[in-house]
């Protein structure tokens, strides 16, 4: 598989404290990558670095083999989409929230209308189109958030714990729908989660991040069944809970 995003020599610190230290990492075309690790491990920082939302320090980020500097940043960033744990919707209707990314790209009104209608349908929220975003339930808001990302038809989708604030039935339903969407669109995806079940269900490859370092990387099932020494503590506790 070819590399879509590559990062090299990433050393991010807050003062003296190292937050992320990754000599080299490749995100492959078409994969659904899981990122697991304890709180404060640097998962969100890794996501921000890959998504060009935080400066890579002295390191480099390559997209399709080409180094992304300041000049290219916006252009490449527009090929990505991001959804975080908090839905962070704008103070407007569901329709306009989903349309925002296309509006920022100056797409035609007709195209926007068609695509919004399509993605409302996919995420089963057509009936909410006119509703104000502040009056949605947590699950509905997260659906809007994900539709707002998917409408951009991103080459890479970044998800930072998008389901972790949802109650169980809501989470399960959305997780199923989201897996379907990602499979149908064949979108390369980076998925951060605390939750072993989500990771197992959704991802093909998994990296374990601890103390800012990638401790293990491999096919999800393999990493979960035979964690190496460094990752064992973290995975082990999960397995214990599930056994």
């Amino acid at each position: 598989m070819t590399s879509l995003i590559t990062i090299e020599n990433i050393e991010i610190k807050a003062g003296d404290k190292p937050i992320l230290s990754v000599p080299r990492f490749e995100l492959r075309q078409g994969e659904v990558l899981g990122v697991m690790g304890p709180n404060g491990a640097g998962k969100s920082t890794l996501l921000k670095t890959l998504a060009l939302l935080a400066p890579p320090g002295r390191g480099s980020v390559f997209f399709q083999g080409q180094e992304v500097g300041d000049v290219l940043a916006l252009e490449v960033r527009r090929k990505f989409a991001v959804a975080l744990q908090q839905s962070l919707l704008l103070d407007t209707s569901v329709y306009h929230n989903i349309a925002i990314g296309l509006k920022l790209r100056n797409r035609s009104r007709k195209e926007i209308k068609e695509k919004v209608a399509y993605w409302l349908e996919v995420f089963k929220i057509s009936h909410l189109s006119k509703k104000h975003a502040y009056h949605l339930s947590g699950g509905e808001a997260q659906r809007v958030n994900l539709a707002r990302a998917m409408i951009l038809e991103p080459e890479v989708l970044f998800l930072d714990e998008p389901f972790s604030a949802l109650d169980f039935p809501t989470k399960v339903q959305l997780l199923k729908d989201m897996k379907q969407v990602v499979e149908n669109t064949k979108t390369t995806t980076v998925f951060i989660s605390h939750d072993l079940v989500e990771i197992k269900y959704f991802t093909q490859r998994l990296i374990i991040l601890m103390d800012g370092e990638i401790k293990q990387s491999g096919p999800t099932a393999e990493v979960l069944s035979s964690p190496n020494e460094a990752a064992a503590g973290f995975i082990g506790e999960w397995s214990e809970l599930l056994s």
């Binding site: 921000k48 998504a51 939302l53 916006l74 960033r77 527009r78 990505f80 989409a81 991001v82 975080l84 908090q86 962070l88 704008l90 103070d91 407007t92 209707s93 925002i100 990314g101 920022l104 790209r105 006119k130 509703k131 104000h132 009056h135 707002r148 951009l152 970044f158």
Partner: protein, 232 residues
């Protein structure tokens, strides 16, 4: 009570009869106050935005000074401007003292800290993750600023409304730097003070009704702008 009714009757009479002096004073009041709040907004909005969003050394100090400025007594502002524009003052060449421009300067000085300070507060409160999310949606820097402005419109307009309230109510500075000259720098507040001192309570009341109407109408428009499309 009778005095109030009399004043109201007088006000209606004066307005209906199109009393040229009243019209002129009202028009000048509107022109001066709206110009002042417009200048305050044009400067205070971008300044407040930068102060709220960008962290730089000295920012806290500036924010503190602005907060102090919000409580700046208009009379003090008037005094400073008078001293600056005075015959022997550093800006005397412009010959602005006792002109409507001087009143605009004074009113801008007292409303600018309010608009700037409240805008800065609004932007300081913006969730950093929201900024990141908007960038992630593909916004350019300018698009980001426009979205944030829209997101903060409630608080920003609150600042403008508060600033306008101060400007339209202000009398001490306008008196001092404008001089309440008939046909030149007389505005509603200064003429009310004058009429009261002359014992013309009916005219003073009439003027006060006009002043209140203007203040109410403009505040109403701003509030409408602030609150529209918030329902559902």
């Amino acid at each position: 009570m009778e005095l109030l009714l009399q004043g109201l009757r007088k006000a209606i009479e004066m307005i209906l009869s199109g009393d040229p002096v009243i019209l002129e004073i009202t028009w000048r009041t509107l022109k001066v106050s709206l110009t002042a709040i417009m200048i305050s907004t044009l400067i205070g909005l971008p300044a407040g935005m930068m102060l709220g969003l960008i962290k730089f050394p000295g920012r806290k100090l500036i924010l503190t000074l602005i907060n102090i400025g919000m409580g700046l007594p208009p009379v003090v502002a008037g005094l400073w401007i008078t001293l600056l524009l005075w015959r022997s003052g550093p800006l005397s060449d412009f010959e602005l003292l006792y002109t409507p421009t001087a009143i605009i300067i004074a009113q801008t000085l007292v409303s600018l800290p309010i608009v700037t300070g409240l805008t800065a507060t609004a932007f300081q409160q913006i969730n950093e993750k929201l900024i990141m999310q908007i960038k992630a949606l593909g916004a350019t820097k300018i698009q980001l600023v426009l979205i944030l402005l829209k997101e903060s419109r409630l608080a920003i307009l609150a600042g403008i409304i508060a600033g306008f309230g101060r400007v339209i109510a202000e009398v001490g500075a306008a008196m001092m730097v404008g001089g309440n000259i008939s046909g030149e720098t007389r505005i509603l507040t200064t003429s009310i003070v004058m009429e009261v001192s002359k014992g013309n309570f009916d005219i003073a009341l009439a003027l006060s009704f006009i002043l209140m109407t203007i203040a109410f109408l403009i505040t109403f428009c701003l509030t409408y702008l602030q609150q529209r499309k918030r329902s559902q």
